[in-house]
Structures are given as C-alpha cells and as structure tokens.
C-alpha cells in the first residue's frame, strides 16, 4: 500500500475548524484507547458524540451514546472511526448520508476504497492517524513525553484552537 501523507497544515486546519465529532466505536471502559482520545479531545474544546450500539442510551463522559450515526439528532462535522478497517465502508456510507464533512480513521484503520467513495462525495479523509496524537504533536504537548513530534519552529505559540 502507498504510504499515507498529510501535510501538517491540513491536519492543523481540521483540528482548528472542527467542533463536533462523532466517535464510532467509543468505549465506556476507562482504560480503552478510544476513552483516552475522547476525554483528551473534550478537554481541548471538541464536542465528542459517542456511537456504540452496545452502549446505546448510556452516558459516557457527559454525552449520550447513540447506536449509529443516523440516530444523532444534530449536525456532525467529523466522523472518527475507532473500529477495524473492514467496518470502515459501512461507517463511511452513513457519514456521507448524515452530511459529515470529514472522515477520520484511527491509527491502524485504513480502507482505500471507502476513502475514495467519501472523497468522491466531497468529504475530506484522513486515515491511520489519531486526532489526539496529532493534536498533541502539533501543539507540542506530545514532546512533553519525550516523543519526537518532528515539529521544528522558532515561533512562540503552537496553539491550535482559540480557548
């Protein structure tokens, strides 16, 4: 498979301009990776709406869990897929149907055909990345854990979102 490349400006723009994210595969278990990502992104000012049929109607980090994207009663800008790659096409179809602008597939999640379908429908697609890690990387916070952000800058502010 072709390596994926997304310029930093593109990731930064998505993380700056997006407010409402539906997280498909959000877990109610506190030590699952999706829970970590949801909590972090909430702290950064995103509204995260959890989607998980097994937890339908439960409350997760202050939000109601929906069974699928179509049940969400308000506009969703971005769909974050926290599921196996083979689940991506079905989620992408729903994302197109509800009018999302961005489909973001998590680290290790990649489905090139589904991505093409979304792009043909006018959506922006990011694959095999984590919005939490990308936010941490571009804001400099990831470097606080000794992780190589590959960001070189002489600028003082690395703030992504207005608080």
């Amino acid at each position: 498979m072709e390596p994926l490349y997304y310029p930093d400006w593109q990731i930064r723009r998505i993380l700056r301009d997006t407010d409402v994210i539906a997280m498909v595969g959000a877990s109610t278990n506190w030590n699952r990776p999706s829970y970590f990502a949801m909590k972090y992104l909430q702290e950064k000012g995103f509204r995260i709406i959890p989607v998980n049929p097994r937890a339908e109607g439960e409350e997760l980090l202050g939000e109601t869990v929906y069974a699928n994207l179509k049940d969400i009663p308000e506009p969703v800008e971005m769909v974050d897929i926290f599921q196996r790659s083979d689940r991506a096409p079905a989620v992408v179809d729903e994302a197109i149907e509800i009018g999302a602008k961005i489909v973001w597939m998590q680290l290790t999640v990649r489905h090139d055909e589904a991505a093409k379908k979304a792009e043909d429908a006018g959506l922006t697609v990011i694959m095999d990345r984590c919005p939490k890690i990308e936010f941490g990387r571009l804001s400099g916070e990831l470097g606080w854990s000794g992780i190589n952000t590959r960001v070189i800058t002489s600028r003082r502010s690395k703030q992504i979102r207005a608080h």
Binding site: D8, D17, G140, S145, G146, I147, N148, T153, K158
Partner: protein, 447 residues
C-alpha cells in the same frame, strides 16, 4: 508547508518536505521557544512538581489520558526537551532520559525482562556494563549470555525460548572494534526480539543504528552527547517500529499492567508504548531520574555535536597515525587505520569517521603502559570518555578491573592495553604530550 494559522501556502505539499538536516535537529529539535515566556533557549525548570487545573485534570494526568507534567521523577520540561532532541537525532519515535547510562540499561531491561529471562550480549562492551549484566542483573533474576560478536551466528546459537533481547555496542569500548550489526539485526528479527544498541561511543552523528535494524538505542549522554565532561545522563530511545504484539514474549507491554490499573501499554500507546511504560512505570518505581540542570548542560552540548564529532574523529585519525608509526608501539586498534581488520566495517557503518576512542599496546607491555598513563601532562589520566579533553587510562586496572583476566582479554582490555579518548585540543599538542610520555615510558624501561 506548515503554517501556524493552518492556511495553505503555495509550496508543493503533496509529498513530505525534505526533513531537516542533522545540524538543524541538533539545535532545534525539542527546543522551540517557551510558550509562556518566549525564552528562546530551553529554561532550567528546577521544579519538583506541577499544579493541576482541578481534580479531574489530575485524574486525567495520572491515568495517562492527557499529556502533562505531574512530578519531576516522571517528567520535567527541561528533560523532555532533551528526550525529544535525542529521539530526533536518532530518527526514533520517543525517548526516556535517565540519571546515567547504567540507569538507561536497567530501565530498558526492566521493561523487557522477567525473572528467569535472559538476553544475549556481545562480549565487547564497557567493563561496567559487563559487570552490571553479570552480577547486578542476576539479583533481579535476569541472566546475560555473552557471545563473541565476530561471528553473528553466535547470537543465534545462544537464543532460547526465554531470550528477550540482543545487546551490543556497535563501536565497541574500549575501542577499535566494530560489530557487524546488520546480520545480527536479522537474527533478532527472525527471533521476534528487539536488538538494543549502545551508541554512546559513536553518537548519531557517526551512525544511526535504527538505519541498520536496531529497535532500541541506549546512550550514556555523559560522554560525547554532553561532550564536556560536566554532567551525567543516560537515555533510552525506541524506534517505534518493533511490534511488541507479534508474540507473547513481552507481557509487560502486551498484557494489562497491574501496576497501572490494568492498562495495556502497547495497545494504548502504539509506537511509543515502550517509552510510555519506561516513564510511567520504570521511572516512577525505580526512580533513576535525570536532573534538569544536567539535562540543560547536555542540551547545550548537543547543539555543537556535529562540529565536535567531526573534530574528534579528525584528531583521533591523526593521533592514531602518529602512534601507528611510533617505534615503541607494539599494536594499535583503530578502525580508521587501513591496517585494522575493522576498516571495512568502519567504511560501511561509520563513513564520517571511526570515532575517537581506541586502544593500543606498547612494546614494553603492562609496565610500559602503566608508565605511559602516569607520564602524561596535558592528557588526563581518568576513567571517562567523550570529553573535550583528551583522556587516557589503563582499562585492566580501572574500567575493566572487576572482570576476570579471561573476560578482560575477550573484551579487548588485556594487561597491556592502553585506552585513549581523543579530545578537541590542538592536535599537535595532544601528539606532543604523547611523544614526551612515550619517551618517558621508554627511558624508564631502559633503566
């Protein structure tokens, strides 16, 4: 091109831009201006602890759900700037700094080993490492099997079902020996275990072991990275490319951790899971933390790493050629000399120079060697390497003293061996001091 306000520029960014050069990374990686004050150099954050916004923020930090500082045993802003810088210079994913190089070895092994487990190591190591691996690690139930790295197959033959890693120094202390890493990396990969390389003597300026298949790189930053003989420090860097989940050999990374509320580090932190475990559990519970002041000194040293290393190897080559031609010198082991059996490997792995640490022996053997190290005036007789100053010592009576005679000879530290770490003084002055010390040693021998 990245733009701070997230707008697109006219630069073609359909593919990655050329990554910054080594010198740029040495100065800038991990060291952008302090966002609060605008301080351009990395400040010394001499603080033990960091305030929480509220109880929920504290809980998020303790659960590792958000990035941030809690307590300087686990993380400190000056130290993390250094960690990111060294990770960048090694082209790795992440790094954890420790109080010393020895602590770095303990931290890496703590993550990989279990009581009853073993690792296979090259015998050509710093004597202190041989002692740590042989005696001190045994008290943790960890066993080290030493092999001669000259034949890579020796590593394969020593691997058993409880082997968790291979370990080597590419440019091996006390000097002159280069280990052929590439076939050894293949053996590690086939066995599903990581290859750990101590890159202290070469530094990433001369070689980046991840390019040759290493999975974890360790440094004593006390040496060439800091470079000025003024601060102790160690670091563990992970490449991010080793799949810890490929087998069941690394439960500490792939099984829920009872020391962290059942968190599974590999699954949760992916390609920086090893470092996260090293920080959140090993640094937390073993405590060998790097001091911020030392991190600051090492950060400052690294900014000039490329200039220093280029001059270190230039001076070393000149000193080696001088000694090679000296009638009192019986043998010399420096891979930069064409006569060295390791010259070919030096050309392959260390094209910018074969380091500045090497060994030689005098025709007068043990007695002459002792007299030489006691006769220097400019060169310092002490146990360290990678200083701006030229350093000399007799390994059999110092750095490799705790070993048996047999171990010393196998490690290249036999009774007649003298080790030199060539520094950055005017090279003619280094040679002049050796010249007078050699005549002194010879004159005494003639008495």
């Amino acid at each position: 091109m990245m733009s701070d306000n997230g707008t697109k520029t006219m630069v073609d960014d359909s593919k990655p831009a050329k990554p910054p050069g080594f010198e740029t990374l040495a100065i800038h990686a991990g060291a952008s201006p302090d966002p609060s004050t605008g301080a351009r150099n990395v400040p010394i954050y001499q603080s033990t602890a960091y305030v929480f916004d509220d109880v929920d923020h504290a809980a998020s930090l303790f659960n590792l759900q958000t990035f941030g500082y809690i307590y300087s045993r686990i993380g400190n802003p000056t130290v993390s700037a250094l960690e990111e810088k060294v990770a960048a210079l090694e082209n790795g994913r992440a790094a954890v700094a420790t109080s010393t190089g020895h602590a770095a070895q303990m931290l890496a092994m703590y993550i990989l080993m279990e009581p009853g487990a073993n690792f296979v190591s090259s015998i050509n190591l710093y004597g202190g490492s041989i002692t740590q691996f042989t005696h001190t690690f045994k008290k943790f139930g960890w066993h080290c099997k030493f092999v001669d790295p000259a034949d890579p197959e020796n590593f394969r033959a020593a691997i058993d079902e409880n082997t968790k890693a291979l370990f080597l120094e590419l440019l091996a202390n006390p000097g002159g020996i280069i280990v052929d890493i590439e076939p050894i990396a293949d053996i590690a990969r086939e066995a599903g275990i990581p290859l750990i390389v101590d890159n202290t003597t070469a530094t990433p300026y001369l070689v980046q072991p991840f390019d040759w298949g290493a999975d974890i790189v360790i440094h004593s930053m006390t040496k060439f990275l800091g470079g000025h003989g003024n601060a102790m420090g160690g670091i563990v860097v992970e490449s991010g490319r080793f799949d810890w989940g490929q087998n069941d050999k690394f439960p500490s990374l792939t099984q829920p951790d009872p020391a962290y509320h059942g968190l599974t580090f590999h699954e949760t932190f992916g390609d920086f899971g090893f470092s996260t475990k090293g920080r959140a559990v090993a640094l937390r519970d073993l405590g060998p933390t790097l001091a911020p002041m030392n991190a600051f000194l090492i950060l400052t040293g690294i900014e000039t790493l490329s200039l220093r290393m280029a001059r270190h190897v230039e001076n070393a080559q000149a000193v080696a050629e001088y000694l090679d031609a000296h009638p009192a010198v019986e043998w010399i082991s420096y891979a930069g000399l064409k006569s060295s059996p390791y010259h070919k490997l030096a050309k392959k792995y260390l094209p910018k120079g074969a380091g500045s640490l090497f060994t030689f022996g005098l025709k007068g053997g043990y007695e002459a060697g002792i007299r030489l190290v006691e006769s220097v005036e400019l060169i310092s007789h002490l146990a360290n390497l990678g200083d701006t100053r030229t350093l000399i010592l007799h390994p059999a009576s110092t750095t490799h003293r705790q070993l048996t005679e047999e171990q010393r000879i196998a490690a290249g530290a036999g009774p007649d061996v003298v080790r030199i770490s060539v520094g950055l003084e005017t090279v003619d002055d280094i040679i002049a001091d050796l010249d007078q010390a050699l005549s002194h040693a010879l004159a005494k021998a003639a008495e």
